[in-house]
């Protein structure tokens, strides 16, 4: 058992409770705030990297004809853009938010397993270096789409694919460790009185997201492992000549892939559920139904994967089942949207920058969700599938959904993190600039998709020219807006008006009510009291 002397001995060595100095602080840190910061910077770097590749895509698609890049390189750009954005930008950004926020939201001294927390992060720079380096190798980067369907990624792929496979393994290890840490923290580290049904929704959504992660990342690892053995050791999982099936790959991939898209949106729901009540100055409407809706979405997300495969020739019973299950997800998601709107209803609203991003989220995520519903209708997905209509759908849920929530979270919590207010005027410019340009970027893609433009093509026939040009212009403008965002971030970290502890008039939660801005390096060394 634990004794007082041992306790003193253990703490004696570590009496300095502030951060270490220099580079090694960041390499060896076990502090949840430091690790959160590292994750957020990695995510931002990857956003710029993935965004640069999106710019190359939009540049090539600016006009019909092959102007800038070869088709093979174009495919590499599409693939790497998707991979880097999903695994490098959105997921690490949410893990960064989890690190920063979960301990201070539930009154814990740190994450439950601080050393492992460090490792979860420090695997990622290696994984992404390996992935990115393939661009410069003979054979080039992965060029088979972020969905890497066999046999294009097995028999027909260059040697560099093996580096991609191992990079995915590493990301999987990192995500699983990160998720375990979140679960252990939430289940084991809550301050006395912080019952499950009192937790902020961000914590709830992350708890459920963490379950999704540990359930599906290993499946992805299994899929790439089978790819590896098919490529090098003579197995035939994805080869009909040996009794396997290329479509089996798709089933395994999407068993991972569909929950994956909810991994990228559930924490976003948590962020929005924190911001709307604050600026409506009214408690969140339907807290418990929000929790149940989140759980329902997560459970349903395991049962709908083959809606990405309506054209692979499944038996008709399978198609019907997956269609019904897919459109059913609209119901709990609708509950979330309706609860947010009702939270605003009869509130006393103000529109600071975080609120603007949150409102933008609700509108544009709903647009993306509704186009998702259209995709879910199997007989019509025959026409939508693999067109720009799908590209428009998922950018509405990912860019104006997930990414918008991350930016909203930044503006909402950065005064707490740094103690500095961001520049409100610049924040508002950032919002309007982004929101106008992102719609110019992605809305026309619905039209070209419906008119018949396939995705993943470097060149297109002339009837799509106008809308592609509009879309590219929107893309460049949106890209520049994010460079502007970088400026705002640095400016805020460097200085700014001192933030109050409460930060926002309507803010609630332990992090606002019981901690100063910025919070000390080790917060809640004494457990707070939760009413």
């Amino acid at each position: 058992m634990y004794t007082d002397t041992a306790h003193d001995a253990a703490h004696g060595e570590h009496h300095d409770h502030g951060p270490a100095k220099g580079l090694m602080r960041w390499v060896t840190t076990t502090n949840h705030k430091d690790i959160g910061t590292l994750y957020l910077w990695l995510a931002f770097t990857m956003l710029l990297y993935g965004g640069s590749m999106a710019m190359i895509i939009r540049l090539e698609l600016f006009q019909p004809g092959l102007q800038w890049v070869e088709p093979h390189f174009f495919n590499q750009m599409t693939t790497m853009h998707g991979l880097v954005m999903v695994f490098g930008a959105i997921m690490p950004a949410f893990v960064g938010l989890a690190n920063w926020l979960i301990p201070i939201m539930i009154g814990a001294p740190d994450m439950a397993l601080p050393r492992m927390n460090n490792w979860s992060f420090w695997i990622l720079p290696f994984a992404f270096t390996i992935l990115a380096s393939t661009t410069f190798m003979e054979g080039g980067a992965p060029a088979f789409g972020w969905t890497f369907y066999a046999p294009l990624s097995t028999t027909f792929a260059p040697d560099t694919t093996d580096f991609f496979i191992f990079a995915v393994h590493l990301m999987g290890i990192s995500s699983v460790m990160g998720a375990i840490n979140v679960i252990a923290t939430i289940l084991n580290m809550r301050a006395p009185g912080m019952t499950l049904m009192k937790m902020p929704l961000f914590v709830w959504t992350w708890l459920i997201t963490a379950y999704l992660l540990i359930a599906v990342m290993p499946v992805l690892a299994g899929a790439v492992t089978m790819m590896l053995t098919d490529r090098h050791f003579g197995t035939s999982f994805f080869d009909a000549a040996g009794g396997g099936d290329p479509v089996m790959f798709q089933h395994i991939f999407w068993f991972f892939g569909h929950p994956e898209v909810y991994i990228m949106i559930l924490p976003a729901f948590g962020v929005i559920s924190a911001i709307i009540p604050t600026f409506a100055r009214k408690p969140l409407f339907g807290y418990s139904s929000m929790v149940y809706a989140t759980a329902s979405i997560a459970i349903l997300s395991f049962m709908v994967w083959a809606h990405h495969m309506f054209t692979v020739g499944m038996p008709v019973a399978g198609e019907l089942y997956f269609m019904y299950a897919t459109i059913l997800i609209s119901v709990p998601t609708g509950v979330k949207v309706f609860n947010w709107v009702t939270t605003m209803w009869k509130g006393s609203m103000t529109f600071e920058t975080p609120m603007l991003w949150a409102l933008g989220f609700i509108v544009m995520f709903t647009i993306g969700g509704l186009s998702g519903l259209m995709l879910g209708v199997a007989p019509v997905d025959t026409q939508y599938h693999d067109t720009y209509f799908v590209v428009a759908h998922f950018h509405y849920v990912l860019v104006t959904g997930a990414l918008y929530s991350i930016i909203a979270a930044f503006y909402y919590w950065v005064p707490k993190w740094t103690g500095h207010m961001y520049d409100e005027k610049l924040g508002k410019i950032h919002f309007w600039w982004s929101t106008i340009s992102v719609n110019v970027l992605f809305f026309p893609q619905h039209f070209v998709g419906l008119a018949g433009m396939p995705r993943r093509i470097p060149d297109y026939s002339l009837q799509f020219a106008e809308f592609n040009m509009i879309s590219s212009i929107g893309g460049f403008a949106f890209g520049l807006a994010q460079i502007f965002f970088l400026y705002i971030v640095i400016k805020t970290i460097r200085g700014g008006v001192k933030a109050t502890d409460r930060v926002w008039e309507g803010a609630t939660g332990l992090e606002f009510e019981q901690l100063p801005s910025p919070p000390p390096y080790h917060s809640f060394t004494e457990a707070p009291t939760v009413k």
Partner: protein, 377 residues
């Protein structure tokens, strides 16, 4: 009906707005919406699409309307004081059940259409086998002994960097597939390499062609015309360059076309019996090479390092002719190098072998006759 009219008006407005932003109106042939198409299925799909679209518009209008209302009237600057209600089981149940009913309303017609769409086998008049090949399509008329390969037309290829002036830029093939109208055509899709997807929007058909399995689908074309489509599954480097052209004609024209196709095949078989001159082989070889091989091995034979070997100076090309012929006939298992024996006839293979050995920077000097290919098969 009324929906369609409304939708057209809505789209016209959006078009107007969009073209104001647009810079070049040179090729303005706006298509903003899904085609209605020319088959029963494509028309059902269009109807369902519009139905769900309008449901989404209404839901969006309600949700965004409520948001806008509170944004305008419940703002602090207008002196709004926050109410404190934050729970109501009744409304939660309402907004769970009402969407559920809407979904059931969508699911019923969707189920009917899906069952119809999947019903390819019953009463098919014609069976057309479609094989995806990196990056072209092979069509086989199962009951007719007619088979040919259709790839991006050279004219379309040539303007890749200068699209101006070519009306069907990237959507023109060297040999369109010809089908009679008002017959139920059953398609059988499969692939000889990676997964492709055969998609012609006006036919309402999009189906993956998968190596090792055959998928089916069907269409009854109700109007003669030329219908264009593209490969819709990422299949490697030239995925964007494998268009589809369907020429729908009357039954009589179709029969006539079949006859001419068979005559062509007979003529080709006869030419394989002749001795060919170096000059003719090289000329033919260049055409075959550029159409079938250059996508991977490059128009000048340079290949793509790490992915596709160069032909210039390749040990197999410079080695004895038997090995060279073998890799083209049988391909190389486990690589992208496909077996071409099913795709090219003896003359074509003889020509391309001769061409590779004596062009693209190589000069082996020998000449391979079609008869040699026939023996090697």
């Amino acid at each position: 009906m009324i929906f369609n009219k409304l939708s057209r008006r809505f789209l016209v407005i959006v078009t107007g707005l969009a073209s104001m932003v647009s810079m070049s109106a040179a090729h303005a042939e706006y298509a903003l919406n899904m085609t209605k198409g020319v088959t029963p299925i494509s028309q059902q799909q269009y109807g369902l699409h519009m139905l769900v679209f309008w449901i989404c518009v209404v839901i969006g209008a309600l949700v965004f309307g409520a948001m806008a209302w509170s944004i305008i009237y419940h703002r602090k600057s207008k002196g709004a004081v926050a109410a404190n209600f934050h729970e109501s089981t009744t409304v939660e149940i309402i907004w769970t059940v009402v969407p559920l009913l809407i979904l059931i309303g969508i699911a019923i017609p969707a189920t009917a259409t899906l069952l119809d769409l999947e019903d390819a086998k019953t009463d098919a008049d014609i069976t057309l086998q479609v094989t995806g090949i990196q990056w072209k399509w092979k069509y086989t008329y199962v009951d007719e002994d007619v088979s040919f390969i259709s790839s991006l037309a050279q004219s379309s290829r040539d303007v890749v960097n200068d699209p101006t002036g070519n009306e069907n830029y990237l959507l023109e093939v060297d040999e369109p597939v010809v089908l009679p109208i008002n017959k139920k055509v059953r398609f059988l899709f499969h692939s000889s390499d990676v997964i492709h997807a055969w998609w012609v929007p006006a036919l309402g058909v999009k189906q993956d062609s998968i190596p090792g399995f055959i998928n089916d689908s069907w269409a009854t074309i109700e109007k003669p015309g030329i219908y264009r489509g593209q490969c819709a599954e990422l299949c490697g480097k030239d995925h964007g360059f494998m268009p589809i052209v369907v020429n729908a004609v009357t039954e009589a024209e179709y029969q006539q076309w079949l006859v001419s196709k068979k005559e062509e095949a007979a003529a080709a078989a006869a030419s394989a019996e002749q001795e060919w001159s170096m000059k003719d082989l090289l000329a033919r070889g260049e055409t075959v090479y550029q159409a079938n091989c250059s996508a991977c091995h490059g128009p000048t034979g340079a290949g793509i390092p790490g992915a596709f070997p160069a032909m210039t100076g390749s040990p197999i090309v410079l080695g004895d002719a038997a090995g060279h012929i073998d890799i083209i006939l049988n391909g190389k298992a486990g690589t992208a190098m496909a077996a071409f024996k099913g795709q090219l006839n003896d003359v074509d293979i003889a020509a391309v072998v001769t061409y590779e050995r004596n062009a693209l920077g190589n000069s082996v000097g020998d000449l391979v006759q079609p008869s040699a290919i026939k023996n090697a098969r």
